[in-house]
Assembly symmetry: C2
DNA sequence: GAAACACCTTGATACAGATCAAATAAGATG
DNA sequence: CATCTTATTTGATCTGTATCAAGGTGTTTC
């Protein structure tokens, strides 16, 4: 079951110093809080496919993704599964003030997380308000993403769903690395067909068919199994059903 | 187009004192912040069907629902609509740090909101951290609700969706009023078939058919158009697809 | 390099829910 | 009370996606 898409990068100092840092450097964070965070942080690595925690299990830490991709999923009694969160590097997982995880947290690729023990983290939050403020901002962003995702689940066709997902990943990828070249985007699709189907509320077969359809029409080019090239991003965007510019989920 | 389900109640002091108050009284909030909030708050009323703000329009306030129900919706270019938020009394709308509304905000019933001008509210947030903390809590709750909703949209059958929605409203209603009697629940369904279909990612006709089906099977009883009676809540719960106890959205 | 495995693609068919079209019911209005 | 309007129900049919079933492709293992 191990299947690495990205190699695990050596953990450098730039990572977990401040959970708030990952997305936006915050100047006030430099001094003592940093030291306090240093004391309560630790790293955990997972292989692709491994489960970080099961829904309902005790989760006594909060964490942010350093490298790789994690997913949050819900499962119904009869096994139907829906992904409800996709965590890319710098994203945050875990809820202060809750003992157990509400979702299955799974490593979609090889994964490194920077974890903070919950209790001390909560204490720190009380003492340094701007951590809470930053967390509020991030949570509001996630809520927006969730709502965009709801539109996708409730109203988009299979074809639109696939196009949307590819655009979302491409965008996130492009904003991390700087390979946004001359209109052509090239990146790694880090999800299996099954993971895609769980994200989109489809079956794996429908995902496969629709990806093939987009490929046959030249909207995307697949190289190897996971590498994707988008020759013309705007043309693909038109297939998402979103109006021109909007639609950035997680 | 006006169609009142609940009569507007006279606005009393207990309402908007502190936006944080509505859901959980917070002791620290009593003193000066309360006065500051008093100065920047104002009330707005809407008739059922009226739009509070359109997506993209300027929204220079945040607000919480006093009476009635408001909805947040997204619309695609071709008119497909998906509800992404359902605001009941005490729920909060608007995002600090954003100029425009990301969603259409609509009054599903006659509606009274307690509004706070955004700028002063943000200032207040900076000065009194626990308002931000409370807001973080509420946002995290909403995120959980959104994720439960995503499971509904992505994986549940039409029948399960309807049963879920009725249970959600019944629960919210029961927790507000105290008419949770001897297993029989009676309450007002404050949404049109169309609003329900926008909530559930279905068409209005499918909603109607499934409601009829549940009625014919005796799982619910309808009195008049909007009044609903659930003779046996647990039996209806079994139709939601959720495991025994879970599944409280918005 | 053969076997085993995991993942992906493609085909045939079934069915849940959408769509199109009336008919009915329930308030609102004069 | 009769009429108008809007919301709801119900029917007939169509279609997009699920389901069931092989077959293919690339990777790891020995």
């Amino acid at each position: 079951m191990p299947r690495a898409t990205q190699k695990i990068q050596p953990i450098s100092q730039e990572c977990g110093d401040c959970p708030i840092r990952h997305r936006a450097v915050c100047a006030r964070c430099e001094s003592e809080e940093l030291n306090l965070l240093e004391q309560i942080k630790f790293y955990r690595s997972f292989e692709a496919g491994q489960t970080v925690v099961w829904a309902g299990d005790k989760m006594d830490f909060v964490a942010s993704v350093v490298t790789g991709i994690a997913t949050l999923s819900q499962t119904m009694e009869d096994g139907r599964r829906q992904m409800v969160g996709l965590l890319l590097p710098s994203d945050f997982a875990g809820r202060p003030g809750r003992e157990t995880s509400a979702y299955d947290v799974t490593a979609a690729t090889d994964l490194v997380m920077c974890c903070f023990r919950k209790k001390p983290f909560e204490d720190l939050m009380l003492r340094t308000p701007h951590i809470g403020q930053r967390l509020l901002e991030m949570t509001l962003d996630e809520l927006d993403a969730a709502r965009e995702w709801m539109l996708l689940l409730g109203r988009k066709t299979a074809r639109e769903k696939i196009a949307s997902l590819i655009c979302i990943i491409a965008r996130r990828d492009a904003s991390l690395q700087l390979n946004a070249s001359d209109g052509e985007l090239r990146f790694d699709l880090p999800l299996t067909r099954e993971a895609m189907s769980e994200y989109l509320g489809l079956t794996l077969e429908t995902v496969s068919r629709q990806v093939s359809a987009l490929r046959k029409e030249g909207l995307i080019v697949t190289e190897g199994k996971r590498q994707i090239v988008i020759p013309d991003f705007d043309r693909l965007l038109e297939e998402t059903g979103d109006d021109s510019d909007g639609g950035f989920l997680v």
